[in-house]
């Protein structure tokens, strides 16, 4: 074709209709909102007939997986309605449990049945309702029997799902502090002046723990 000077784009002929159709396709695809004919033409080379290109594109997509649809006075590409079911997909996202949740869970596991007040006492900070709710929702803890003390506080215990997730047969399989220390998970030196206590050899988890914590 004739080489027209660059600046005067108007001297160019409009691109062939097939090319205009490509342009409309790309713009409708990339745009975050439906695009009006006027907007299309403002983007396309001078002399383009966006309405006609859209019409061609619409025909091309007939029966395909996506369609060119009119939204008000603008145009957009949308999934064919019969394929909507493909878009609904359950994605499972794995996220790390928060530190507060882990600690709360650990306390319930080691001290069950355990009230919220006890969890707070052990953690030394208050436990947010959300943390407990999250663990309940995950079905890693559940409500145990109410404590028969004034106020009859609810207790929490771990669930079979919890044991399953962590590959434990029962909560007593949880390693004790001694083992934690042996595994290098606890590196602290013994607190100055700590007096070893309780040489009882109770098998009960609770007592076991007590013994382990106070000792050394």
């Amino acid at each position: 074709m004739t080489d027209a000077p660059e600046e005067t784009g108007t001297l160019f002929e409009a691109p062939p209709l097939a090319e205009q159709e490509r342009m409309v396709e790309a713009v409708l695809f990339a745009s975050s909102e439906p695009v009006t004919i006027a907007d299309l033409e403002a983007r396309m080379p001078h002399g383009s007939d966006a309405a006609q290109a859209v019409e061609l594109l619409q025909k091309r997509y007939e029966g395909r997986g996506v369609r060119v649809v009119r939204v008000g006075d603008a145009w957009a590409i949308r999934t064919a309605p019969d394929l909507g079911f493909l878009m609904q997909k359950e994605t499972v996202e794995t996220r790390k449990l928060s530190r507060a949740a882990i600690e709360t869970l650990a306390i319930v596991a080691y001290h069950q049945p355990c009230t919220r007040a006890e969890i707070e006492e052990i953690r030394g900070v208050s436990v947010s309702r959300g943390t407990i709710d999250q663990l309940l929702e995950m079905e890693w803890i559940k409500l145990g029997r109410r404590r028969m003390t004034p106020g009859r506080p609810v207790t929490f215990v771990v669930t079979p799902e919890f044991l399953d997730h962590f590959g434990l047969e029962n909560a007593r399989d949880l390693p004790g502090l001694k083992e934690l220390r042996a595994a290098g998970l606890l590196e602290n030196r013994p607190p100055p002046g700590a007096i070893p206590l309780g040489e009882g050899s109770e098998d009960e988890v609770d007592e076991d723990q007590t013994e382990l914590f106070e000792e050394e």
Partner: protein, 264 residues
């Protein structure tokens, strides 16, 4: 050509300007290798055929000039200068048969390789950046709203996380000031303090055991102490007229309730 760029011979104004530009611009260099690469361009040869000796000389001159202009050079520029001076001597002197280290030629070849590799990476970077780029030359779908994902979030934690979490808390605990030797003793004073506010709610007969403090019912030693203290405190409260106590038979549970004013 530019071979005499830094020599003592009179140089053209243009050359001198170029040389000074190089020096003044030392901040713009990304290390000594970059300087060497720039200097090597003055040789206008394939990097494989570069004269490392000439390059070493150029670099040493560059460092000297920088010093003369009192431009502070970073240590690695000076290290490179020292190394190149060493390389230069190796290349110029006949090889010492007793010397075990790599020959001057080997060292020079490696330097040439490094320069060629750096240049190659620069070219590759330029080619990469010249490619069509997402969001600039080609685009993704603008409307993300079509896809509706039902997001289920699964939280994961490992046994290790759990144990570390627990160890963390207990580690904290061990530094808490504890009165260790009194740990298994619940005093009557404590029991009284605990029961006074509670007794107001005991309208009906309630087993005394429910008044045991939390955490004192598992360990037999602690339980015994807590029971005794609670019993003593209960007697005290009855004596004070706040409470009534009953036990249906020997060893049966002891029941407590609030004493109301309507009662006689």
């Amino acid at each position: 050509m530019n071979d005499n760029l830094f020599s003592e011979d009179p140089v053209s104004v243009a050359d001198r300007l170029a040389a000074e530009a190089l020096i003044v611009d030392v901040d713009g260099f990304e290390g000594p290798l970059d300087v060497l690469l720039t200097l090597s361009r003055t040789q206008k040869v394939d990097l494989r055929k570069i004269s490392v000796l000439a390059l070493a000389q150029q670099y040493l001159t560059f460092v000297e000039k920088a010093r003369a202009l009192r431009i502070e050079l970073a240590a690695d520029y000076l290290v490179m200068a020292a190394w190149l001076a060493f390389l230069k001597s190796r290349l110029l002197l006949p090889p010492d048969p007793d010397d075990e280290g790599p020959s001057g030629e080997e060292l020079a070849a490696h330097l040439a390789f490094q320069l060629e590799r750096l240049q190659a990476m620069r070219d590759a970077a330029a080619r990469l950046m010249a490619r069509d780029q997402l969001g600039r030359d080609f685009f993704r779908r603008g409307q993300g709203e079509d896809i509706t994902r039902i997001r289920t979030v699964t939280y994961s934690a490992t046994l290790l996380d759990l144990m570390q979490g627990y160890a963390r808390i207990r580690t904290r605990d061990e530094f808490r000031p504890f009165v260790m030797d009194r740990d298994a003793v619940f005093t009557m004073e404590q029991a009284l303090e605990r029961m006074r506010p509670l007794i107001g709610f005991a309208g009906t007969w309630t087993d005394m055991e429910t008044y045991l403090p939390d955490g004192w019912d598992a360990d037999p030693v602690r339980r015994r102490s807590a029971t005794a203290a609670t019993f003593a405190a209960s007697l005290e409260l009855v004596k004070e007229g706040h409470m009534e106590m009953k036990q249906s038979e020997t060893f049966a549970p002891i029941h407590l309730r609030k004493r109301t004013e309507t009662r006689d």
